[in-house]
Amino acid sequence: MGTLINILIDGVVYGLLLFMIAVGLTITMGLMRFINLAHGVFAMLGGYAAIWLIRQMGLPWLPGVIIAVLAIAAISVPLERWLVSRVYQRPPLDQVLLTIGIVFCMVAISGLVFGTRVSSMPFPEFLSGSLDLGFKVLPAQRILVVSVGVASFVGLWLLLEKTRFGIQLRATVDNVQTASAMGINTRRVATLAFALGAGMAALGGIVGSALMPIEPYYPLTYMVLFLAVVAVGGQGNLTGTLVGALLLGMIDTATKYLAPQLSSILFFVAIIVIISLRPNGLFGRAAV
Amino acid sequence: MTTLNEQPAVTPTASRFSVQGLSKRFGNLVVADDIHIDLTPGARMALIGPNGAGKSTFVNLVTGLLTPSSGRIVLDGEDITTMSASRRVRNGLVRSFQVTRLFRELTVADNIRLAVLQERQQYMRLFSGLANTPGLDEEVQRILNELNIRDRASSLVHNLAYGEQRLVEIALVLALKPKVLLLDEPAAGVPDSESDLILEAVGNLPKDLAVLLIEHDMDLVFSFAEQIAVLVNGAVMATGTPQEIAHNETVRNIYLGKGH
């Protein structure tokens, strides 16, 4: 019973973190049918930026985090404009190759600049404690992940449902041609969505650094994980992504609790089984 | 009931291909609404209807590219409703595409070769050269000559004019030696100067082949069809001989009215 509760709580924490990082991926894939293997790069860069701003530049924690997130979102704009958008119309393989190229470059550069070891994220006093729930002691950083994760989901939901940008975004996900025929500037929507996704990933990378340590191989280590969230949740589907993220977070946590020796094996088996049984996602329509 | 004993062969030969109560919805949009269609061997039927009526969707449904919401599809007495798309083709149910779908980076000959290899079940020959495949080149030759595209044999498909590509599209379906052929607007997008070739090819189809032709050109429809079905909003609105359809008031209003 205790284990079950542990799995449930830690699984939700991990799942919400996966959601934050992967949601940008699901949006850009839904928008432009663009396969991005490099999305984890933004999470890693977010982490490095925050560490640098807080440790080296001596910024207070919160402003440091906010500036880091905004900086990564800003950096992603020229990347999308000049590099990524050039392969939107190309076959999936070209997109895969280009984004692997980006991953390799960023892994290498991070290794050269920050060293190959884990860089630890500074956290303020009030986030280093923990909360005793009675049946479980929850580190404050996990509470941070949960609150930021839930806030992100609600915020994104409101953005998509209630704002003009959200309507344009959903119309573009639905059908790019129709959307641009309706006068929506789909290029701009794509760029903004890309920046939004990059910023979300950066935020996830920062608040989740206790669970997923910031190091140069970060984008490669978690590549399958982020992609799997999208594949399970369905491309361009916000709620689906949340469910996919929670499911995978739960599975990963469960394997770590129940069979720590075999956890990565069991996790990959689970991913393979789920995706090969439902290649179009849990909620996906059948391939036409 | 006694007829069953006396003429057991009646049922299979009477209908080569029959579609019973076929329906399909995309969300709220009904694109196929309780469609019944029956083709006897050698049938020449035309399926007409305004753009967006659901004609191509009907072809996608019966050939297995889309899954119907309900209904039954029967080929030669066998229920093929849940059969895989490729097995339907091997069983003789073949379609052409409204928008040409060819192997664009392969030569015309290789395109036809593929269809012939499937029809002759020779594609599992792993190490023998194409030139050494018995009967393959002769058959490809025959089809190239039949459609008069022999001099384009070694061109890559994407270098052909669209009209020529339409001929290759027809060559592919003929190479499959179908029992039932569904032609989805074979002359669509072809300049008038080249459409004669296609009409000729359609006119020369084997006599025992059951053909369903989707077409907008009424002259062609009336010269070709023995039976016409009119599809409007996914439902068959009328069926009959060309005369009956030509005199059907509703059809004239809804459909023929525009052109005549």
């Binding site: 396969i35 590099l83 999936p92 070209d94 895969v96 280009l98 692997i100 190229g101 980006i102 390799f104 470059c105 892994v107 290498a108 290794g111 050269l112 140069p216 399958v224 992609l227 999208v230 491309q235 020796q261 094996i265 990959f268 991913i271 393979i272 995706i275 179009n280 | 490729s86 097995r87 083709v89 379609r95 595409f97 779908r101 060819l102 192997f103 664009r104 980076e105 030569t107 015309v108 000959a109 290789d110 593929l114 269809a115 290899l117 029809e119 594609y123 792993l126 190490f127 023998s128 050269g129 194409l130 030139a131 080149d137 384009r152 044999a153 070694s154 890559l156 270098n159 592919l172 499959l176």
Partner: protein, 339 residues
Amino acid sequence: MTQTTVKPSLALGTLHTGRLPIPELIALVVGLGCFFAFPSNLGFMTEIVIMILLVLSLDLLLGYTGIASLGQAAMFGGGAYCAGLFALHIHNDPLLGLIMAALFGGLMAGVSGLLFLRAHGLSFIILTIAFGSLTFAVANQLNWLTGGDDGLYGYIMAPLFGAFEFDFFGRTGFLYSLGILLVVFYGLRRLVNSPFGLSAQGIREDRQRMTSLGFPVYRVMLMIYIIAGAIAGIAGALSAQTIQVVGLQSLSFTMSAEALVMLILGGTGRLYGAVIGTVVFMVVHHYAADLDPSTWMLVIGLMLIAVVLFLPKGMVQLVDMTRNKVSRLNGGAGHDNSK
């Protein structure tokens, strides 16, 4: 096109080549030339030969059938471990080990392909990456069997054909690998020019159209996946047998990705493209050996980006461009065969 009596299939406009082993003879001459010219680099040249085999298997998948896999290292490493373990525990005859590895690679591909080949696009790519990660995790977990991080070693190969010892300089190893490469290359060339090979290309061009022609596309793809897996297994076995160590990196994502880089660099859909790409990549890697791993990774990354942006058809594109230029200079019409 004139109606003279050329070979019937040429008259019918196929662009496939004949069955004479001329490319293999050229490769043999080049290979032997290198053998005598660079006697101190035989180990490195053996590595190139092995990578060519792995990249060829990927070309069969990607270049000829349009199956984009990022997990071909699973079969490569699987074959390597299989050959190593076979030599260590059962029998150390190289050819017997090679056959076992081919079977094992084919089996791994068969089992995984059965599950994966129903998926498309993103899902298929993720599945292949996940399969690679899974095999890596399994090999790591079974360290009592595989040696884990330390690698699998301690086996000594029996002489090839019972006569040729695997010598310290790697002469036997190189000639053995070269021989296997030539055999596989010849087989592949026959395969891609066969009815089956044409069907593969049809699948690459348009899977759904192949279905509408009545092809059992899934079954054909599965067969190709198995054949490619067997070839990757052979490559892995050669690596295990000539280096006499098998490491976890043979199963790594980097291995799969590098093989893909070599293929893309050379150009897909032509067997010699795989050869060119591998040789160029490996030679550059060799001379960049002084670079630390991070810098090398940066080089690969930049290479990938550059190829996608500027040379989407690989280096064979350069060959074509020069060829067209030459034929234009000679006053000949630029031919339209892009194959």
